[in-house]
Amino acid sequence: MSGVIQLVYFAVAVVFILGLKAMSSPVTARKGIVWAGYAMIAATLVTFYTPGMQNYGLMITAIVLGGGVAWWSGRVVKMTDMPQMVAIYNGMGGGAAAAIAALEFARGGSHGAIATTLAVLGALIGSVAFSGSCIAFAKLQGIMTKAWRLPAQNMVNLGLAALAVVLGLVIVVVETPPSAIVIAFFIVALALGAILTSPIGGADMPVVISLLNAFTGLAVGLEGYVLGNPALIVAGIVVGASGTLLTQLMAKAMNRPIRNIIFTPITGEAAGGGEAIEGSMKELSALDAASVMRYAGKVIIVPGYGMAVAGAQHKVWEMAQLLEEGGVEVVFAIHPVAGRMPGHMNVLLAEAGVPYDKIFDLEEINADFPQADVALVIGANDVVNPVARTDKSSPIYGMPILNVDMAHNVIVVKRGQGAGYSGIENALFYKDNCRMLYGSAQQIIGEVITHVKALEV
């Protein structure tokens, strides 16, 4: 490799790192991807000048075809289908890494034990990422609707993994392994990825995709070593490491330990974790709540008796002010009978210093909920229970309620499964656009505040 190419690769690696760093803040995220994009183009272009290259026609065809199809599909797909697209592109990266290893094996040429070991490792991981991502894509795309599970799932997984290792060892040890062995190795690796991923439910998919993404990064890094290309190493390993951390963060944000996601099958209640969750209460983290509100246009806060119990009014107002500083419109909606006495919420909001012109009553505000990005319900329950509109047999039937369920997103702050004054279940909590933010209001709003602040540059 010539010095110039090396230096370009080096610069590309640096830009990738800076790009990823930029992408981890909402303020700079877009710049980050654009930088990385230019770097990628630069890397591709200089590669054509690598000494001793052949097969340019084929190469350009492959690039145009692969890149074109991906570009087009990425452009036309609906926003809601993005996750599966990420999955499939990621799988392709894994596949590419595996293919690189395959070609190296095919070309023979000894790299030494260490390099071959890493090549095999990369091939294994890349293959798993490839087939796993394909399954993830199929599930999210609705092609594969049922969670599919073998009778002795974990035994099969273990067996396949062991087999892959054995075959891999053979490839490392034997000078020129027979292609049957190599082919068998890839088949086993692909199968392993598919079988590992199939039983996982739709709701856990984002975490799994993130994990597979980290896998691909690792595979790319390993193949980079084999090819003696530090840019690949750095980009791959950086993604591998950041992807691993990201996977942990995502799992934490969803309150699902990674272990549970991947090994759920072992506990026996595998199928359709995602589907089962539908129609149940969905939790979100304080960080999530902060992000959603920070990037909303309008937030309506609905305080209830729980805010009074928690004495959270000062924190709530502080949060509202922070959001307003960030350009979000925040207003308060007081239900006629929120709390336990007439004017209960007024007293508390006044104590916290909320100006009167930010406080609206039911009649004034109910029409605004459909325009609100977020309705934040803080310790209110009965007064936002849609049952009052629909269920004649309910004790609260006929009471006017705040139509928070019509907001784009509803976030409900409460401590747990506690019912309101009237003691009945709340249908709101099971709605699709509703997320629960569990915790005593004072403390959890404090956390939201911290995160909102962290979202500022």
Partner: protein
């Protein structure tokens, strides 16, 4: 002929509220009803006749009652007014059902369909009609102001050039709607609040307003949000623990009432005697017998160096908003039954049926029937 809603002036001295407000009248008219008002009846609530649009004015209450299909009132109308009412017509207001056997008899005799708003079932849907809540809120706020105004001390803490004044201690007994409002108001002004109620769930409610709960270990949760009466033994225990809190406070506000019964005697003369000189007591229950021994309804009496105030018509101290709330409550109660300008009572409706006192010559409310012995 469209439904005619009549509003006679209130006759009881000191009563300054009115059962309609101009915008509520407009809403009745929107439903197709007509309204007749006794001329000048809104004066005490700062309402002039010309504020009411498209309304008939009558020169006397009797004239209103004799023409109206539905009569709205705040306090029970005088026997003369009831006598003037059309048989079969409807009367809605705070009719003091628990203490008016003669009145009930007269209503039955005249075949009047009367609704006593005090009897309203306390279900969620009926909250917008709940006059006890709305007027209780007014009363609680007013009692706190009365206490602050009559106290010879500052309620809030105040550091001034020559020293510091510690905040006053206010004790609130009974944490229903009125009690909670009194707590909130006194706390706003700056006092340190302790509060007590027999219903254990009030502890959380009291604390939610930043006050301290006085734990006496006695519980008296009743049904429907009302409190039950306590046994003598419980009363003694309660009294003992309370006595300490009473002795320490600078102002005491009592709001404990049990509907249909004499108010419980919670503060004895002995407890009053042990209070600080200059302490103030506001006994909101004075009218129904008083939570405080020695309180006199409608008067301010000095018991030793303690001022005991027994305010009456408390909500009338704030006639504009009290009337506004009351009028809206009545409207929310009545409006579902006005269809195309005609009255269509729905006896299946649990709320309406629940607060009916008399109908078609009968006393409809079982509890009241029992108490009045009719």
């Amino acid at each position: 002929m469209p439904l005619l809603i009549g509003v006679p002036a209130e006759t009881i001295p000191g009563e300054r509220r009115l059962s309609v407000m101009p915008d509520v009248v407009k809403k009745y008219q929107g439903l197709g009803a007509q309204v007749v008002i006794q001329s000048g009846s809104g004066q005490s609530a700062h309402l002039r006749d010309e504020m009411f649009a498209d309304v008939q004015f009558a020169s006397s209450g009797a004239e209103v009652c004799s023409t109206a299909d539905v009569v709205l009132c705040v306090q029970p109308p005088s026997p003369e007014l009831i006598a003037a009412m059309k048989p079969g017509s409807v009367l809605i207001g705070m009719l003091q059902p628990w203490s008016g056997a003669e009145r009930a008899q007269q209503l039955m005799d005249k075949q009047i369909t009367s609704f006593a708003m005090e009897l309203l079932p306390r279900i969620s849907r009926a909250q917008s009609m709940d006059v006890l809540s709305s007027q209780g809120a007014v009363a609680g706020y007013e009692c706190a102001l009365i206490a602050a105004d009559h106290s010879p001390k500052f309620f809030p803490m105040l550091t001034y050039a020559a020293g510091t004044i510690r905040p006053a201690k206010v004790l609130v007994i009974g944490a229903g709607v009125a009690g909670l409002q009194a707590i909130a108001t006194a706390r706003r002004i700056g006092a340190m609040i302790e509060a007590y109620d027999v219903r254990p769930e009030t502890r959380e409610q009291i604390e939610s307003l930043g006050a301290k709960f006085v734990d006496t270990g006695v519980t008296a949760a009743g049904t429907g949000g009302y409190a039950r009466e306590l046994t003598d033994e419980e009363k003694a225990k309660q009294a003992e623990r309370l006595a300490k809190a009473v002795a320490q406070c600078d102002a005491l506000i009592t709001t404990a009432a049990i509907p249909g019964k004499r108010a419980p005697r919670i503060i004895t003369a002995d407890m009053v005697a042990r209070m600080k000189p200059g302490a103030v007591i506001v006994d909101m229950a004075a009218e129904s017998g008083g939570n405080v021994e020695g309180s006199v309804a409608g008067e301010k009496v000095w018991v030793g160096d303690v001022l005991v105030i027994g305010p009456t018509h408390i909500a009338s101290r704030m006639p504009v908003h009290a009337s506004e709330m009351y009028a809206k409550n009545l409207y929310n109660f009545l409006s579902p039954f006005i269809k195309d300008g005609a009255l269509a009572l729905d006896w299946e409706d649990e709320v309406m049926a629940g607060c009916c006192l008399t109908h078609a010559g009968e006393l409809r409310h079982a509890g009241v029937k029992q108490v009045l012995g009719l």
